[in-house]
Symmetry: C2
Subunit: 210 residues, 2 copies
DNA sequence: CTCGGATTTGAACCGCCAGTCAAGCCAGCA
DNA sequence: TGCTGGCTTGACTGGCGGTTCAAATCCGAG
């Protein structure tokens, strides 16, 4: 059974990925050493390369792993929400860096930037990135389609197109917040994102809840 | 005269910065070696460190230098244009990665991503970045104010705020284009940017020139 | 308990590269 | 022509960190 891995091996694998993602978040890709990851696992450096063929591979896997984790939690939440508006609010809430206390200041977004910079030159990372990104845009489009089916949102532009536009706007705003905590605050980003989304999708922005 | 530098020294300084910017654009910050920069200058590696106290400092200076260069050309162009609409069109044209043939595929934007990733952890870079970014947003706000003074654009939201929003949108879209040449093309970004800008600023989008 | 394979260790290896330095080079000047 | 001081070289080094490996350990099956 060449394709089976022991339970233990799978656990270790995941444990290392998780540790790697944390180290990258904390120190940045460029400053991440194999020994840092090993230390975080409470394990010797040699072991890391017993489970991963090279540091490079590990880093790429760690980056996508972290994103998968996030996406899983996210889509589970989405399924539990009834209205599209609720979904949109939550999506934006989760997209604002540092808004929710349960995340540390340098969160998902820091990893995204690392993904981007790497994807510029590394074809493997580029391909991974494209998949992750398409999935994300798709989620936005799904919310819009859902909203249209319930009558919350009006018909209009192609939902995919809107997913792209809204996604891109959130990206840009998130960078501002992540970089520049002084001028552009998290709550302000939240407000602006919602405003832009409402205008692009074409629904009336009711008196902000929360 | 401690404060004076010979003409020659200044030239060399700049020459090295330029070479560094090119190498970073081509290979990425992480893969840039001092010897690469030296080679590009046709000079020995030792000389690089005669002019810059460390590699780190050089890289930061190179990054801001490249941006300065771009900004200078840009604002010279702006001054020559009469209508705000022309200015806006040109700003967007310059913001779309790879749209203009005179730039190589990996252009300014690749450097921006490097700046971001570095600014996340390096306070010096973070400060530099903030300056560069403010200047850029300011430029957009200036165009809007100009358009309002000539009556091209209607009054409305704070010009600074719009500068932020439009700037962020362009950022996000540019990343898409830079990463993902297949799905989202340069010309499409151009169209979307203009559309979003017109809607946020509130002017009528006339039949597209060009 | 014993064997055998999977896991784990940590020391050793090795290439790489930022930064140093002593020695040459050259231009201007007296 | 020889002196001076800034420029330039390129060999050297010191440390860092990814990778390898032989040995130790662990664990489950028989």
């Amino acid at each position: 059974m060449a394709a089976t891995k022991s339970k233990q091996q799978k656990d270790r694998h995941q444990e290392i990925l998780e540790a790697a993602a944390r180290v990258i978040t904390a120190r940045g890709l460029a400053e991440t050493r194999i020994s840092d990851i090993a230390e975080r696992c409470g394990v010797s450096p040699g072991l890391i390369l017993y489970y991963f063929e090279s540091k490079d591979r590990l880093l790429i896997e760690a980056l996508t792993f972290a994103n998968d984790q996030f996406y899983l939690r996210f889509s589970r939440e989405m399924r539990r929400m009834k209205t599209a508006r609720e979904q949109l609010d939550r999506l934006i809430e989760l997209s604002v860096p540092g808004l929710l206390p349960e995340y540390e200041r340098l969160d998902e977004w820091a990893l995204w930037i690392e993904i981007w910079v790497r994807a510029l030159r590394d074809p493997v990372m580029a391909k991974e990135r494209e998949v992750l990104d398409r999935r994300w845009r798709q989620s936005i489009a799904d919310i819009i389609r859902h909203g249209r089916s319930t009558g919350e949102f009006p018909d209009g532009w192609d939902a995919e197109e809107l997913g792209l536009q809204i996604g891109a706007t959130i990206d840009g705003l998130a960078i501002q917040v992540l970089m520049n905590d002084t001028v552009f605050s998290a709550t302000r980003m939240q407000r602006v994102s919602l405003e832009v989304a409402s205008r692009l999708i074409g629904f009336e922005l009711e008196p902000a809840e929360v």
